[in-house]
Symmetry: C2
Subunit: 243 residues, 2 copies
């Protein structure tokens, strides 16, 4: 793990790093010492590790909960090189959305393909970040919606360090099988008028989760219109399960 840049703002220390080929970022409270819960955040499709939505959430997890937060660029995103095969599928998905066709089956196949790479990558990020003395071996949470849900479900299913997860804006096509192996508490976000994920698919993914404690929060609006009060709820959810 090689740190490449460090900045600080509003009580939050931000360090960019590379771990092998993976570009990542770690946020911690300024001056933090000793172990603390860690939230791994997955970004959305076409976005990157420092997407404004990721940044907003990361800052609140750090300043309000004292957590550490890490994010990594997904292959073919952010600071990573273009992968021709991924790019081809992403372009096809966009075309289907614009044509008004159902992109769900194509998205499902794409996310399975990418997850085979990101699950071990994110496990390596956890290993490296938890080896730092101001993060340490404390409980881990996962936050990811849309692509971050499609990749997050197999990750949470595979990784026993994750004790609670916020997922959503994803459907059962991609993830039902892995969801049935998730048993940790999940807060699942669904947009009632999601133009990318059919409502029945999202409800089926929530249904597939094996977690005895899972809670579905559904709100009106499209795929990108999560209401701001859900972040307040997410903070309470992680505080309840990771502290």
């Amino acid at each position: 793990m090689r740190f490449t840049a460090q900045t600080s703002s509003g009580g939050v220390s931000e360090r960019l790093f590379t771990l092998g080929e993976i570009p990542g970022v770690l946020w911690t409270p300024e001056g933090a010492t000793g172990p603390r819960p860690l939230i791994l955040m997955g970004h959305g499709g076409g976005r990157h590790k420092k997407d404004p939505g990721v940044l907003t959430r990361a800052h609140r997890f750090v300043t309000e909960c004292g957590f550490a937060v890490a994010a990594a660029d997904v292959p073919n995103h952010g600071d990573r090189p273009e992968q021709v095969e991924y790019q081809r599928i992403a372009t096809e998905i966009q075309a289907r959305v614009q044509a008004g066709d159902d992109p769900a089956p194509l998205i499902a196949g794409f996310q399975s393909l990418v997850a085979r790479q990101t699950v071990p990558e994110w496990q390596a990020v956890l290993d490296a970040v938890q080896a730092l003395p101001h993060v340490g071996p404390a409980p881990v949470g996962y936050w990811g919606v849309s692509l971050g849900c499609g990749l997050g479900v197999p990750f949470v299913a595979a990784e026993p360090r994750v004790r609670a997860a916020v997922l959503g804006l994803g459907g059962a096509h991609a993830s039902a099988e892995a969801a049935a192996r998730i048993t940790v508490p999940v807060e699942f976000l669904l947009q009632w008028d999601d133009e990318r994920v059919p409502r029945s698919q999202a409800l089926a993914l929530f249904d597939a989760l094996a977690s005895p404690e899972k809670t579905l929060h559904a709100n009106p609006g499209g795929h990108g219109e999560l209401p701001p009060f859900e972040l307040d709820s997410t903070i309470r959810f992680f505080t309840r399960h990771l502290r």
Copy 2:
């Protein structure tokens, strides 16, 4: 409005009253003066105005939010005389549940019938309670699930003083038409394994609400198994919309 008994416990003043034929109860902070938001609570089928679930919520609304809370016995419940026709339908509903048949259509008809009586009754309770100087003409919230949802939907639709409502454990059979006239913020509670309300019916009722701000909270478990953390969420919801 005639007050018949007054007690006090844990900072909460409880006054029983009758308003015409309606037996009711009012909870306020001990020593309260001046206007404050009022929550009207509807109880469940076969329950009454001082059901343990109503009491628990009322005490928290009073002690944590400083609200006034009122509840009234629904006809054929609590301290009210038996009404032969209502009793006959209630018995038939129980029999259908025990036989494993779908009681939804019967419940729907029953709730419409009772609501024609409870909507004006609850409006009269609001008039009387808000005439008290330590309640006054502040915003009103409504809380009711199960029967309290079936009767609450037409009440919230009809009563402009209600500015926010927590509803749930109810289905579209009974309430879709009135739900389409509700425009205030709603928090809607759904139990994923509800043995009395089919999931599709509950989702359809949430869908029918015309409120631009509505949020569905679904959790695993049966009709009577709302998780305790939903009360925390309810308190935040009412605080956000009534304060």
